[in-house]
Amino acid sequence: MKALVVYGHPLDDSYCAALRDRAVGGLRAADHDVDVLDLYAEAFDPVLTADERAGHLAPAATKPHLADHFARLRWAEAVVLVYPTWWGGPPAIVKGWLDRVWANEVAFDLPPGAPRIRPRLSNVRRLVVVTTHGSSKWVNALEGEPGKRIVGRSLRLLCHRRARFRWLALYGIDRATPAERQQFLTHVERAMTRL
């Protein structure tokens, strides 16, 4: 399977970077084709521009500056997001990738007169989030898991009709033991070998 791994953490010596490496390792071990998009390393600008907003229903070809990102997303049969959960959801750099790259004629279509957008990412059959939460599972439940809903429901609806969503999360990392961290790394790698 062709897997696009989207990574959004500013530090390359972070636990999140280790998660990315183990996820990629698992995918490669299972003979998947992997493209790693490191948003910080590629200096991705997450702020959708006024022009992009004005042309948000214009054809994708009118945004040549995003063509490479569009192509990478269209290529993917699996999208694996690896990020730390901040304020309940994906960091700004990942949110901005969604804002700018999950665009008209890539992630959705809006035919004239249609009441709502139609999904277009039928190439994506697996949607995976690998994330860490500082707070406990209980606190996140209280917050209503906005990040999990944004990806697992809102984005999931744009993918293939039978696309599977997988949520791999380590809660309470602020107080996790080294053993728990190790265990989660192994868990992520194994989950990726069985994508």
């Binding site: 960091p91 700004a92 901005g96 809102s154 107080r175």
Partner: protein
Amino acid sequence: MRCLVVHANPTPDGYGAALRDAAVAGLTRGGHEVRVVDLYAEGFRAAMTAEERRRYHEPDPIVDPQVREHAGHVRWAEAIVFVYPTWWASLPAVLKGWLERVMVNGVAFRHVPAKGGHTVKPHLDHLRRIVGITTYGSGRWFSFLVADGGRRTLLRALYITAPRRTQRIWLGLYGIEARSPAERQAFLQRVDDRLARL
């Protein structure tokens, strides 16, 4: 009340700007003190930097003078009013980044030692209102059932760092593409009226 309006919209003269103006007009009419930060106009950086992340757990994690200025606005505010368009069921990246970079240790919460590491304690003790004003492409029930990530982020995740008595107010215009000019106008009026009696 001292009110901070946080505005995030790439279009300087669009409906989002009209919503911000309606909010400011209502607040002013209600006798409130208002400060506005316009994240797009200020060119606010969305992504937390590597240095900011490295210092995240320090007593004073703020590096950028612009972030320090915004943190001052937050400390001043008794009400924070967010005005933004909902994209992919949540906040635009620049607003999400504002939370991540401004609402840090010593501003929104405090890191305190706990068994096995640390935990966070609420620190927005001065906050009496959290207000969200947003437009949705999708309908009310669809938004509510599918995700409503923006509302959950502001009225739940952010609220946890405020006192329990803090009031949460949500003003949403759903299915905006299908709304008539009269409906859009009515929503502006609703925003103005509601904020005048904050």
